[in-house]
Subunit: 144 residues, 3 copies
């Protein structure tokens, strides 16, 4: 166990999305980790929305992101007749379900001053609404 | 970074469910945060079960919860012939799968003495069994 | 609130998988908690891969794991014609989607020196590729 005194920081990150797609936020989160000056610790991201989500996935091949979109669009079709909640548009209830099937919060350890992600992992904000939105993440960083 | 000494608390929350539906536990968790006296920190919830889950979702429109139920009931039908594990009833294996597709633990930052949830976010315990159950959450609060 | 000084540890756990199946890592994680000497705290697991995932599920009945495999194999079929990303084999894109539908990180509180899991809960590394792989987890333990 490490004996140094732990400290924490809490910041916000605002992402302007361009509609339904993956937005790579890895570099933005890394920047917050660097600013916090933590070498060893834990970084928790919480997205304050119910129709966009967080996903750690392959950062190399754009086909992977395209296939994700294809799969989820078929699994949870926009405007599916089963949905009652349609006041905010055909894509709204589908966006809620897609969010629930993925997640709105993540905790990633920090090692040697960086997020302890695997070689092929990136952190994505996945916008599930068709139109552009302004999304806010709360970032909690703890460590020493 | 904040320099004050961090402390932690660990408590349990028992929820008596009324069968398959969403149970809003936001106020119960907020109460634990207030009791811990933490202004800035991190709150982690862990549900100690395999047939109920935790979900952060829209807290405004009951139609959203109804549509979630509809979607998941079709995606993972109770008593689906593909399932072998049926000793505890038709809804048991479906409950396990629904739990895996969502989650049993969540970490939400604490800001200004409150969970840093978005305006439209509530924390729900989603009971996936048809009958009422007594469910236990472990709540870890860390901060200053 | 507990006033003792918090400390943290960061270790790695390597799991050699035997292809697509559940690998119970509960005892390995418990061993790390014991080594860290933490009685009360929080344990966060992060899996550094995009085609295997972490799952807390029923540890008693092997039929549950078999049914999980059946369900996910039908929901996300290997080699589905909708997928474009096929360079690494028929099971690769399916493995990414299965990972996204579950999770790569988990945070479980520590109580009385043990993971605060429910009686029926085990922690599994779920290998989604057909062939054996070497998978690395980063384990962050915090507490006193």
């Amino acid at each position: 166990m490490l004996d140094a005194v732990l400290s924490q920081s809490l910041t916000r990150l605002v992402v302007s999305t361009r509609g339904r797609r993956f937005h790579d936020i890895t570099a933005d989160v890394e920047e917050r980790v660097a600013q916090a000056g933590v070498r060893t610790g834990l970084c928790t991201l919480h997205l304050q929305h119910t129709s966009a989500s967080l996903l750690i996935q392959e950062n190399a091949d754009p086909d992977v992101r395209r296939d994700f979109e294809t799969f989820f669009s078929r699994l949870v079709p926009d405007g599916a007749p089963m949905f009652v909640h349609t006041v905010e548009g055909d894509d709204d209830m589908a966006a809620h379900v897609r969010t629930a099937l993925t997640t709105v919060n993540l905790s990633v350890p920090i090692a040697d001053g960086h997020l302890a992600l695997g070689t092929w992992q990136g952190i994505y904000l996945w916008e599930h609404r068709q139109s552009a939105h302004r999304r806010t993440l709360v970032i909690h960083i703890l460590g020493e």
